[in-house]
Amino acid sequence: MVPEATHGHEEGRRLFVMVWLGLLALTAVEVVLAYVQMFSTEGMLLILMFLSLIKAGLIVGYFMHLRFEKTTLAWSLIPAVTLVIMLLFIFFPDAVRALQLRVPQP
């Protein structure tokens, strides 16, 4: 069940170093995109959130070990929190409305 039990200490170490390098590479991509500024704010938001979700998946799956736990644990934790976070997005139409209703400053 735990990777240390199924393969050797060194192999486990290498796996985590690979994950770490992957996280660094994704971060580098994000920073380069912020430097060149070739996308609109909305486009950047989409790309950055996509990359950050991959990073979050790597951290939760490998560093926090969820990939190697019983799948029931992941099924109990992840869908519930995902749903509640998505429910928070219900505020965004109101944010756009508030912007459009604002009286223009002279």
């Binding site: 950050s52 644990l73 934790l77 944010a95």
Partner: protein
């Protein structure tokens, strides 16, 4: 006794399945549940920040690529590295290497403190530019409010984590804590790292001065 005898066929027979549905200890499950609630706290704050940003016509984007974004990138690197040493600490603890685990925990705490120092320095840059909780030079008071609340709550988590790891390192070094305690503290530490993976792009990378 009679109760036990009567209960036996039930306990070992038809209804014995799923006694430990998650196959984790209570400390680990407790930490996962805490992380769940904490992730909702941070999500709510990130959504609140995004809400006021969307609802504000001219949201300030004050971060110069150098030094602010470069500093934040180094902070990300430091936090990711601290997660790697935390993984090594857990692995060492699982292999009964107490000295190695404590050493890796000390590396992790060092990275955590480095993160806090860099972040306070970054706060200092903004405060010298005139950004406060209620006001700033760009006339959008909510910028300071959301920025300091969001990053402050995260910094508080890092500081708490350093204290938590110090307690675990001392306890594990003296043999009072088990390897599971190290693992559970690792879950918390990685979560703090995970939160930064969203604050960094949303607060810094989307606010680079054009």
């Amino acid at each position: 006794m009679a109760d036990q005898v009567n209960a036996m066929p039930l306990a070992t027979g038809d209804w014995a399945g799923g006694t430990f549905p998650y196959a984790v200890g209570h400390k680990k499950l407790g930490m996962w549940l805490f992380i769940l609630s904490d992730s909702l706290t941070f999500s709510a704050m990130l959504v609140a920040y995004s809400y006021v940003r969307v609802a504000t016509a001219a949201w300030p984007t004050p971060f110069h690529f150098f030094p602010s974004v470069v500093t934040a990138t180094v902070m990300t690197l430091v936090l990711l590295s601290s997660s790697l040493t935390m993984v090594f600490a857990v692995a060492a603890a699982k292999h009964g290497d107490r000295r190695g685990a404590v050493r890796q925990l000390c590396f992790t705490m060092f990275f955590g403190l480095t993160f806090i120092v860099l972040h306070l320095n970054e706060w200092g840059v903004l405060i010298r530019e005139g950004v406060r909780l209620w006001q700033n030079p760009w006339g959008v008071p909510l910028f300071g409010a959301t920025f300091f609340t969001l990053t402050g709550l995260h910094m508080f988590h890092v500081a708490t984590g350093v204290g938590y790891l110090a307690v675990v390192a001392v306890g594990f070094g003296r043999g009072r804590f088990t390897d599971e305690d190290v693992e559970v503290s690792g879950l918390y530490w990685h979560f703090v790292d995970l939160v930064w993976m969203f604050i960094f792009p949303l607060v810094y990378l989307l606010s680079v001065k054009g």
